[in-house]
Amino acid sequence: MKRYETSYFFREGIRGVFLHGFMSFAAVGVIVACLLIMGSFALLAFNLDAIIKDIQNNNEILVVLDEGLSREEFVRFGTTLSGRTDIMDNIAEYTPISKDQALADFAEKVDEEYRYLIEGFATDNPLRDRYVVKLIDVNQMQDTVLKLEALNGVAQVYARLDIAQNLVRLRNAMNTISLLLILILLAVSAFIISNTVKLATFDRREEIGIMRVVGATKSFVRWPFVIEGFLLGLIGSIIAFFLQWRVYALLTERISEGLSGIALIKTVSFGEILAPVLGIFLLAGFLVGVGGSVLTIRKFLRV
């Protein structure tokens, strides 16, 4: 393709975008909305995956003891535990943490300005004595947890495995939803683009007819419309990318807050996934824009 031809196609494509201002606006809007919904779900699933892996790699469980144990009973639990070789087989180490210690640890994590609230608990500590147990083999966690729960003086065992299993279920659901959404929204976007281009070709059907009569090839006629679709897809995906950036920050904030009660959540920062997200958005915008227009013009060129 010659340079002046390329520049002609681009000029015509850009002219088309402005000429069909409202439809272009609608098309870009739909692409942005579709990419955002799609991207948010996909990124959420991606984060869940990271969290799950993180949790699965963390082999600590928390054994909380009954309320009102004496200091002696608290220490004796450790001895009992070390005597149970069937449990100890899967335990690397265990650390007793008294309820006072637990409160102090907690106070440290709390911001300065709220610390007075914790200090109010000093005389009436709501926490309980506990043991932090480090496992050898995470895969046998279930078994170890059951045995620990059966021990005398154990109120509850907090294994993150439960959380992990729930999260896995959530993630699988999210993956299915994401995939469905992606398919539906891509189809919707392509449909809207196709209608924009249909309008564009309808608008210029006389021009197209004349082009064909004077001997323009089909591909020559097609190019400006392909570029119009391409530009719509490109604009849509770039806007969607920057919005996604914002939305992602809000979203991860929410997740961290929502899950902070159960586990220390580390979400993936947008900076780390910037390039792939941009790449995927651009690709999706390209496919939808160019695909939508190519399919539409094909019908118009059968003369």
Partner: protein, 231 residues
């Protein structure tokens, strides 16, 4: 060069528009194609431009065999032809200059070639001074001259005009035909479809008459011969 040999054309609806047409047009000829409404004139023209394919028989246009023409060769066939219609078919939003330049651009001409060629052709049709006007600011005759300039711009071997004067008054019609005659004198073959007896009679050209899908007369000299056969 154009050759039709025993050409039949039936439309999907079952209408048999051409029933065994044989016609030969040599390079440099000027031909009037006359006949009553529905006789098959436009059908012949659409066969020549590759818009239609013959149902039977052979259609040869400037080295292209229309019956066996591949889709992707159609544009190249059309570049050897300049087509003019009764309703001008100009793009209203473009200026006279752009309407003509457009036809060059869409066949891949460079801006340089366009700049050189368009003024020359506008001058040929006598519209240099109206290059910046839009089609709707021109008279019908002037609009048709823009269309002729556009048909000529890619230097076709042959001009095909389907009732080019159908929308014009007699004086404008004569002007247009004289312009076509001048173009023919410069070496381009011209095939003009018309109804206008007066007009045909003013030129001593070859007249091919068609009726009911058959050629009923092919003589050089005038329209009256076709009429004589009708009566």
């Amino acid at each position: 060069m154009v050759r039709l040999v025993d050409v039949y054309k039936a439309y999907g609806s079952g209408t048999r528009a051409l029933k065994g047409v044989t016609l030969r047009i040599d390079d440099g000829e000027f031909i009037f194609l006359v006949g009553p409404s529905g006789s098959g004139k436009s059908t012949i023209i659409k066969l020549l431009t590759g818009e239609l394919r013959p149902t039977e028989g052979r259609v040869q246009v400037n080295g292209y065999n229309i019956g066996a023409l591949r889709q992707r060769d159609v544009p190249y066939l059309r570049r050897t032809l300049g087509v003019i219609f009764q309703d001008f078919r100009l793009i209203e939003k473009k200026s006279v200059y752009e309407n003509v330049a457009f036809a060059m651009r869409v066949v891949g001409a460079s801006p340089r070639e366009i700049k050189l060629r368009v003024p020359y052709v506008l001058d040929l049709v006598g519209l240099s001074h109206k290059a910046r006007r839009r089609p709707l600011e021109l008279s019908g005759g002037e609009q048709q001259r823009v269309a002729i300039a556009r048909a000529l711009i890619n230097n076709p071997k042959m001009i095909i005009a389907d009732e080019p004067t159908g929308n014009l008054d007699p004086a404008r019609s004569l002007e247009i035909m004289m312009l076509l005659e001048r173009i023919n004198a410069l070496g381009t073959t011209v095939l003009a479809v018309t109804h206008e007896k007066e007009l045909v009679n003013r030129f001593a050209k070859r007249v091919v008459a068609i009726d009911g899908g058959r050629i009923i007369s092919d003589k050089t000299g005038g329209y009256y011969q076709y009429e004589a056969i009708r009566n």
